[in-house]
Every structure is written in structure tokens, then in C-alpha cells.
């Protein structure tokens, strides 16, 4: 009887996790300003364009490496100026209870839009097929703030890292159950 209740306790913990997962709210996208932006992944077979207005709940799967075409502008009403305006910005990954800025930029420009190509190549051991990572891109153009949030993950299936993590999790679970053995 006690063993059954202990097992139910563990299963209850897992159930709490799943209920919480299903309760993740859907929200969106450009959280500040009237700007727009997009990134195009030409090598993808489908779903090639990651738009800043994409809902956060809609996870975009990107490849391990790619050359991406990007474009962005400050939105309607913004006109190029005669003198250079300072700007700053960055890309931030949202972690539990904190954030981590992975890219930053700053400078001065007369333009109100930008575009180009960017090539990246992630290491092979990067986890693939994971849950979404919420990425926030922000840009402050002379006091005009723009911020967009998208959810991305690396395409692929969970590999050896995920299997190893699951195996060690089972071991740690067994250790937790072993803590319930009476001392001799």
C-alpha cells in the first residue's frame, strides 16, 4: 500500500508538470513600438520566413547552420534624418527568471531601416528538437524603442544528449525512491 502511494506521489508530480505545460498562455509578438522585421531562411523546404509579428506560441524551427536574409524598419512615420541618430539594440534569450543577451549592437545612422545577410553555424552538439526558446530582439533608435518576441527551436530530433539526460533522470528518480528505504 505504501509503495503504491509513493508511486502515485511521483506520478502526481509528473501530472503537475503536464498540466502546467498545457496551461502555457499564448501571446504575441511585437511587444513595443510599431516596427517590423523578418528573417528569411532560403534553404528551408517550408516555413522559410520568420516574421517579427509571428505569435509567440507558434514555434519557428531553424536549422543548425544557415545564411539568413534579414530586414527591419522602424515602422510607418519614421523617415531618414539629415543627421545621424544613435542606436543600440540586442538579442536576448529568455531563461527561467532571467534573460541572457547573446548579441548586441550600437552605433549611429541616418536610416530608419536595415537589411542584409547573416551567416551562423551552431556546433553539432547543440540540442535539437527541444522545446521553444523565447528570443527577444530590441532596438532603441534615439529613444524610439522597438521590441519583438519570437519563439524558436533548432530543427531535428532529440539526440544522444536527450537520451542520456532521460537515463540519468531515471537513475536520480531511483535514488529518490531509495531515500525511502528504512535504515537497518
Amino acid at each position: 500500500m505504501q509503495r503504491r502511494v509513493a508511486t502515485v506521489l511521483l506520478l502526481g508530480m509528473l501530472t503537475v508538470v503536464l498540466v502546467g505545460v498545457l496551461a502555457i498562455p499564448a501571446a504575441a509578438e511585437i511587444t513595443r513600438g510599431a516596427c517590423s522585421g523578418s528573417a528569411t531562411f532560403p534553404d528551408k523546404a517550408a516555413d522559410r520566413v520568420l516574421d517579427a509579428a509571428r505569435p509567440k506560441k507558434d514555434v519557428f524551427e531553424g536549422p543548425l547552420s544557415a545564411t539568413v536574409g534579414y530586414s527591419g524598419d522602424l515602422g510607418p512615420g519614421a523617415e531618414p534624418s539629415d543627421e545621424e541618430i544613435p542606436f543600440t539594440g540586442g538579442v536576448v534569450i529568455r531563461l527561467p527568471r532571467m534573460s541572457w543577451q547573446i548579441v548586441g549592437w550600437e552605433g549611429a545612422t541616418k536610416e530608419v531601416s536595415a537589411g542584409g545577410e547573416y551567416t551562423y553555424d551552431l556546433p553539432d552538439f547543440t540540442p535539437q528538437g527541444t522545446g521553444g526558446m523565447q528570443v527577444t530582439a530590441w532596438h532603441d533608435h534615439g529613444g524610439t524603442l522597438c521590441e519583438a518576441v519570437v519563439t524558436v527551436s533548432i530543427s531535428g530530433s532529440p539526440g544522444g544528449v536527450a537520451v542520456g539526460a532521460a537515463a540519468v533522470t531515471v537513475l536520480a528518480g531511483a535514488g529518490t525512491l531509495a531515500a525511502g528505504r528504512r535504515k537497518p
Binding site: 505504501q2 531509495a178 531515500a179 528504512r182
Partner: protein
Amino acid sequence: MKGRPILGVISGFLFGFLLGVSLFLWGVIPLHSDFIWILPLLGLVLGLVMAWWAPFGKSSEQPPPVASPPVESMDTKRPEPGPTD
């Protein structure tokens, strides 16, 4: 505690932490999910509860000894009777 609290704390914390990491790696929860830090705490509490409860293994409590009638020792000296007049 009847169980093993140190094992419970360490393995419970690791169990919760690794469970959160596994759920992320298998695409079940996003990276920013609060479960990533809630699960280790839940695991730690679970380990302590298991150590306190100790539902597994034989009970170490001995049954109370059965009361037996007192045995009179053979070499017990009985008080000698006093002088009689």
C-alpha cells in the same frame, strides 16, 4: 527520520533538475518555463518526504518484549529466621 534524508535531498534535487532539463530537451516545455527551477525544489521536497516516510524495506522497530514470569534464583539466600524465645 526513518529513511535516508541526505540521499533524498541530493537525489531529489538532481531528479527534479534533470526532469526539467529532459522535458526541455524532448520538446515538452520551453526553455523559459518556470518548471526548470520549480522541479528541483519539488524534487528536493519529495526526497525529504520519502526519507521521512520511508515506505520501503522492513521496519526496524522491534516488537515489545513479551513479559515473562520472574525466575527465582537458586542461590538466593533467604533471610534466616531470628532467634526465638
